[in-house]
């Protein structure tokens, strides 16, 4: 009795692991889409309205497009506690790391963006947004390509690994 239950557990665990890896690839692509849209919105806001950063992030936090994950709500909250944008952004990234599934390279791009945000005139901020958008889009395209080639593989590997281990135990 124990053996079939154990084998079922192993099979399900390894399959779950394979699906989890597959979903994390999708989550990464969604997260990069989220930040591409966010940087485009930030660029537009800076160009036309030039709000201060606390107001900008309050606006983003209340925008339904950025409700999930609540990254900008965390940044706005950090700014309301008198933190600077770099600290608030870094802490929000750390808090949301599990949901976002970003790679180290993605995180470096986002941290670089936050470090330079607000620190120059409008022309400089526009250039920063343009550069960051280019980098994020490139990362997103690579992530989408990787997902396309590997997501199914991870799912199948997970299921097959589970079956293999179960067969070994039989």
């Amino acid at each position: 009795m124990l053996k079939p239950v154990g084998m079922l557990f192993i099979f399900l665990s390894m399959s779950f692991f394979g699906f989890h890896l597959s979903f994390s690839l999708s989550r990464r692509v969604e997260a990069l889409d989220y930040f591409v849209l966010a940087v485009e919105v930030i660029r537009g806001e800076l160009r036309f309205l030039q709000p201060s950063l606390p107001r900008l992030f309050e606006k983003l936090a209340s925008d339904p497009r950025f409700a999930r994950p609540p990254f900008f709500a965390l940044v706005a909250k950090g700014l309301s506690y008198r933190k600077n944008v770099r600290e608030a952004w870094r802490e929000a990234l750390a808090a949301q790391a599990r949901d976002l599934c970003l790679s180290d390279a993605d995180t470096v791009i986002l941290l670089r963006f936050a470090y330079a945000l607000g620190g120059s005139d409008l022309a400089g901020q526009d250039s920063l947004c343009a550069f960051t958008l280019e980098e994020l889009k490139s990362q997103r395209d690579k992530a989408a390509e990787y997902r396309h080639t590997h997501a199914k593989t991870y799912r199948i590997l997970g299921v097959l690994s589970g079956l293999f281990v179960c067969l070994l135990l039989v």
Binding site: Q50, S52, P54, L79, N84, L117, G118, G119, D121
Partner: protein, 318 residues
């Protein structure tokens, strides 16, 4: 019922200004005794030099224990720390303050004002930006309610509002008086427009006047005076327009045009006396055209806000 904003006691205003600084510096100022906070008019911070607080007519230096008149005991701010102060005052958003930075100041929440000094970045001979900020001087805003009462009583003595000019040497209290006149007229049911070119009358922050200008006051923040007066007259149907420091030909022409449209303008001008004001061609033009009916001359820095002479321009002037 419009109750207006409280003028704020001096200590509360000092604490409000200090709270705008980074927390590691703000707490030092918050720890100062109440009587010091009541007297403080400015907080001055300079790169690699002592932090000072201006107390009415003396400068004291911030130390670990409080304040001292000896600069040797004082707390110094490093260039990095001063940059952190500047970044905090800009709310991390230098791009949103560029117009003010070019003029060398920042309007802060609460109506306080930070004067800045540093290295100018020039473009075609004009200041484009300030870099390497070396001094930040926070002037603690204090609205003096009642300073415009005497002038408003004179203006309204005949029922209809008429144009007026307040003349005084620097630091005579012209802007303070104009601010209070806007408040009194607005609270008295008059629609008032303030053309606030340098953000000194209303001190708008995020579009909200930080000083109490009453319930019926519209503010044209950072507008050039001539364009602001004309726009106010054409689009906001004011019963009076208020602006600070007129003297250029465009501004005076705009004031005359406002008068022709039936809108009196109440303005101020630099002059050490009424006679000096009358010698200036543009101001004389305002008087001769009838755009200015009342002239108020203030005492000057020795007694800010005190009116020493009132002239009715409808009577022969010297």
């Amino acid at each position: 019922m419009y109750l207006g904003k409280e003028g704020g006691v001096p200590m509360k205003r000092f604490e409000e200004a200090a709270s705008l600084l980074p927390s590691w510096l703000a707490q030092r100022f918050m720890a100062l005794p109440a009587d010091i906070k009541e007297q403080a008019t400015e907080i001055r911070m300079r790169s690699d030099r002592p932090v000072s607080v201006t107390l009415r007519r003396r400068n004291a230096f911030l130390t670990r224990a409080g304040l001292s008149y000896n600069p040797d005991d004082a707390t110094f701010l490093s260039p990095r720390e001063l940059w952190e102060v500047f970044d905090c005052l800009c709310e991390g958003s230098v791009y949103s303050c560029m117009e003010q930075l070019r003029e060398g100041y920042l309007t802060l929440r609460g109506g306080h004002r930070a004067g800045l000094a540093g290295r100018a970045v020039l473009e075609d001979g004009h200041i484009r930006n300030i870099k390497s900020v070396s001094s930040v001087n926070i002037r603690i805003a204090r609205q003096i309610k009642g300073s415009g009462e005497q002038a408003c009583r004179t203006l309204m003595s005949e029922g209809a509002l008429r144009g007026a000019l307040i003349v005084s040497p620097p630091s005579g209290g012209k802007t303070t008086m104009l601010r209070d006149m806007a408040r009194i007229l607005s609270c008295g049911g008059r629609r008032v427009c303030v053309v606030d070119s340098r953000g000194e009358i209303a001190a708008c922050y995020d579009g909200v006047p930080q000083n109490d200008l009453g319930p019926l006051c519209d503010v044209l923040d950072a507008y050039p005076k001539a364009a602001g007066i004309l726009q106010a007259v054409r689009t906001l149907s004011p019963e009076a327009v208020i602006c600070d420091e007129v003297g250029g030909s465009e501004e005076c022409a705009a004031i005359v045009e406002g008068m022709n449209a039936g809108v009196p303008v109440i303005a101020s001008a630099h002059a050490s006396s009424l006679e000096e004001a009358l010698r200036r061609p543009q101001l004389r033009m305002l008087i001769d055209s009838g755009a200015v009916t009342w002239l108020f001359c203030l005492a000057g820095a020795a007694e800010p806000g005190k009116i020493v002479e009132i002239r009715d321009c409808r009577r022969p002037l010297a």
